[in-house]
């Protein structure tokens, strides 16, 4: 096959990139080399549009052990242990084939985590779909949930948190972001570096097939139609294989045989080999004849670019390969020595006695960088300038509350997470839906201490769409609030930045503003960004998704038994609101629902004002003072109150002062606000604590009875029995997607 600029363009390289490839090599690349460069320099692998911006995110902190750049981030959690986590997108594959796309998304992120030597202990999933009434959406929802559950349940990791929302902008481009959290010993973290010249390189796991080989080449002349038919563009996940890989890897990691390890994800063997060599400043020499294959007759190009799942590349200490192979044999895994580490700084690939590729690792790993223009969209100021007040034609408060509770973005997601095993591995302390964050126990190595890690995952994309900078800051604040509500201290965050086409200046502006907001808020709140992923070009028919910087934040709970849920407890508890009493309708769920669009100016996050409330709630939970805590988010105070009442199966009587409009008071949203409940004996301490930190506390009622009654001033504005609210909230999701 003749390699020229035309073929390079068909591979998605630009003329400039092709020129620098030729220059870097000092010659025209071989066909295999062109394939390798095109995947390594793709947006997906090279982060060429986003890298300079990502560099501005805060990534250090006292607890940070491994920051961005490795397979996953690692944060110290005491007792010689680290939490290892990362989030990743699988949007496009899930749209093509929802079950397998979502499944392999979960598989990929779990591999990133156990590659580091961490045993996965929790999964979270963040999903965005088009309108729930569309048949296509329903098919996608069922398939994606089935795929996530099918993989995670079998692999044996509990799915403890997540986020699901629907919006027109995702109709032709759904989002499926998967997060995995693992725990490792701090002194036994494994990195993806190919060090030690002469060390053998091992291939382990599934055999290589023609899966997901880079699309641009599909139409190229080299292949007959028959060969094309053999190249499926859908990869099928095998959670059983992954479970074997996990156990075998962790077993091998208890020895000192393993030098470096990297899973084969996007861009398969190419990216693993290149990245491992580049990180170590070494070279690798590989013989493709030794790669375990699923099909006969695969070319070097195909072997290098295949994205077959459940495969690992490892470097082991020279002379110790038999020990490694014995472990894989025990677990019935295919494994082979396919090459060795060199000092050349080059990735050399041989097959059938021919050198198919010989390129500097750094040339491929560094990749191009592009500066993309960004511009603030016209008209955004006008949208911010609109008054976000009462909405004409909105239902009266009780009806509005019921409608909000039943809408699928707010309604219980039990239809989803009942399909996920959320308890396997005997660690789940707080299950999905029971609180603002899922909580999973972590035993100290000596078994004497039971601490826990909390996970919250999601994105208030309405806010980000309205104002990418402020919205992203609010997203960080909400994640911290979700953790605070279970009593967890935030220790790190991972993100998955889902945006449209960065070549459009207005989309680039969203990305830049959002990253700036995330960075500012993370710095203010002291939460390092330790890993992440960027997914661009999320558009269909030229229209982009709403900007969606998904965040998954991890928190530490010192004593697992103290973690608090959101449900009101017994009758006779005091109910109070922490933070601002009234909210803002700009960007709110209420506005979206009843005005069918969002406008106005978001409440800006302000650390001096909002930070203390976040601290106070966590402190009160740690001290054992609270019976429940729930952050006020989608749907405002009324929805939060109703959710706590439904979860506790108990009523509540609430009295609020007439302040601002009733809609703002009941349904307005804003940062760092909570509904808490506690036994009357704790009231003094709680008041004192709030006063000391200058946090607003408004005692507004008590639990009891079987209905929710909210008075504003002298008038009762909401009065309905909990059973009615519960019915709307519990069944809303299933009804919306036409499933019981």
């Amino acid at each position: 096959m003749k390699v020229d600029e035309k073929l390079a363009l068909a591979h998605g390289l630009t003329s400039g990139e092709y020129a620098s490839l030729c220059e870097g090599l000092g010659r025209v690349p071989t066909y295999a080399e062109l394939g390798m460069a095109s995947v390594m320099w793709s947006e997906h692998c090279s982060y060429k549009s986003s890298r300079p911006h990502l560099a501005t995110l805060p990534s250090d902190g006292e607890r940070v052990v491994v920051g961005p750049g490795e397979n996953a981030g690692a944060v110290d959690i005491g007792d010689g242990q680290v939490a290892v986590f990362k989030m990743e997108s699988h949007n496009h594959p899930s749209f093509i084939e929802p079950v397998q796309g979502a499944a392999t998304g979960v598989g990929g992120i779990c591999r990133d985590v156990f590659t580091m030597g961490a045993r996965p202990i929790a999964i979270a999933d963040c999903l965005r779909f088009g309108p729930p009434e569309s048949a296509r959406t329903r098919y996608l929802v069922s398939g994606v949930v089935n795929g996530i559950g099918g993989y995670g349940n079998s692999f044996g990791v509990p799915t403890i948190a997540g986020d699901v929302a629907f919006d027109e902008s995702y109709a032709g481009n759904i989002l499926v972001n998967a997060f995995c959290l693992g725990v490792a010993r701090r002194d036994r973290i494994f990195l993806g570096a190919a060090s030690g010249a002469g060390n053998p390189i091992l291939y382990v796991g599934a055999r290589t097939g023609r899966d997901g080989i880079h699309g641009a080449t599909m139409a190229s002349a080299e292949f007959s139609e028959d060969a094309e038919a053999k190249r499926p563009n859908v990869q099928v996940g095998d959670p059983f294989m992954e479970k074997l890989l996990l156990e075998a890897c962790l077993e091998l990691m208890t020895t000192d045989v393993l030098v470096g390890i990297q899973d084969m994800g996007a861009a398969g063997l190419t990216s693993s080999a290149v990245e491992m060599a580049a990180r170590a400043g070494s070279g690798v020499d590989m013989n493709l004849d030794r790669v375990p294959v699923r099909e006969a007759g695969m070319t070097a190009y195909e072997l290098l670019l295949s994205e077959s799942q459940e495969r690992m590349l490892m470097v082991v200490a020279r002379g110790r390969e038999e020990e490694a192979l014995a472990v894989f044999e025990k677990w019935d895994l295919a494994a082979a020595v396919i090459g060795e580490v060199t000092t050349s700084g080059r990735v050399v690939v041989r097959m059938g006695g021919v050198i198919e590729a010989d390129m500097p690792a750094a040339l491929l790993a560094d990749g191009p960088r592009v500066v993309r223009p960004s511009s603030r969209p016209a008209g955004i100021d006008a949208v911010h300038g609109e008054e976000a007040g009462a909405i004409g034609g909105a239902p009266e408060p009780t009806a509005a509350l019921i409608e909000l509770l039943s809408c699928p973005d707010i309604a219980s997601k039990a239809w989803v997470f009942r399909q996920y095993d959320h308890e396997v591995r005997h660690g789940t302390v707080i299950r999905p839906g029971e609180a603002d964050a899922g909580v999973v126990r972590v035993l100290s190595p000596d078994g004497t201490r039971e601490k826990a890690l909390a996970v919250t995952a999601g994105c208030p994309q309405r806010y980000v769409a309205l104002d990418p900078y402020e919205g992203s800051r609010l997203a960080v604040c909400e994640a911290v609030a979700n953790l605070a509500a279970v009593g967890a201290e935030p220790i790190g965050v991972t993100d998955c930045l889902n945006f449209g086409n960065p070549e459009k200046p207005e989309i680039m502006w969203q990305l830049v503003e959002s990253v700036r907001g995330l960075g500012d808020a993370c710095r203010a709140l002291g939460v390092p960004v330790v890993s992440g992923n960027v997914s661009l070009y999320n558009e269909s028919n030229g229209s982009s998704i709403a900007p969606t910087p998904m965040l998954a934040m991890v928190g530490l709970v010192a004593d697992a038994s103290r973690a608090t849920t959101l449900g009101f407890g017994a009758a006779g508890q005091v109910i109070a609101i922490i933070g601002a009493l009234s909210g803002n309708l700009a960007g709110s769920a209420y506005q979206q629902r009843f005005a069918r669009r969002n406008f106005g100016r978001l409440t800006a996050f302000d650390y001096a004002q909002h930070g203390p409330a976040l601290k106070v709630v966590r402190g009160l939970i740690e001290a054992g003072s609270l019976a429940s805590a729930h952050d006020i988010s989608d749907g405002g105070l009324a929805v939060a109150m109703a959710e706590s009442a439904i979860a506790g199966s108990i009523g509540a009587s609430i009295e609020l002062p007439a302040r601002g409009s009733a809609a703002e008071l009941l349904f307005g949203e804003g940062p760092a606000r909570f509904v808490i409940s506690f036994a009357p004996v704790h009231e003094q301490t709680i008041r004192a604590q709030c006063e000391r930190l200058g946090v607003d506390l408004y005692v507004c009622g008590h639990t009891g009875g079987s209905s929710l009654s909210i008075h504003v001033g002298d008038g009762e504005v909401i009065c309905t029995d909990i059973a009615t609210l519960a019915d709307g909230w519990r069944g809303g999701f299933g009804r919306a997607i036409g499933q019981s």
Partner: protein, 240 residues
Amino acid sequence: MLTFGVVRFPGSNCDDDALYAVAKVLAPAGMTGKMIWHKERTLGGVDALILPGGFSYGDYLRAGAMAAHSPIMAAVKDFARGGGPVLGICNGFQILCEAGLLEGALVRNASLRFECADIWVRVEGRPTPFSHAIPAGRILSMAVAHGAGRYVHDDVDRLEGEGRVVFRYVTADGDVTEVANPNGSQSNIAGVTNAAGNVVGLMPHPERACEAVLGGGSEDGRLLFLSALAQVNGTPARVG
């Protein structure tokens, strides 16, 4: 003292959970345990066996089908035929059925979905090592998490007549209803025993219901293991 052997098949994923429940949580009560790899041919001195939950061999073909042919299963069958107490939990139950140590079969949930939820089961039927010390009629709170837990048997009447249904899905109040049944099992059957009464399989997870700090907070699962302990110790105990 009671030593449990927990058989680890490729794809087992509640093996650690089961071992933790008996060897850590219930150690003070006098239990211990060890893992047994499926490629072994002998059990080594254990008093009782647990076939844990999970997705042995990915649950491919049929849940439990391939694990039922593991090398260790010959020893498991000998142990069971000798009257040794054997408990199959979830995938372990499926394996016992596939291996012919229990009657019936477990097929795909009627909902066609994986169901992870809190349920209640009533203890009934003839005494078994894992239930004899629990008062008959006692309702236990546990969780299920499975996609193929619908129990089918071609002669449920006979099974019932022989007192071999030992756990049945009920509501919290003890009613046998469709709502209480997470998978569409015949007669709400959650667990059964063999003719000799020493092999027990159930779909719910007692090993996940041993510590108040976890999930639903139930510790009812302990009763099954304490019952086995009482049997081995020969103490006419009553638990729960």
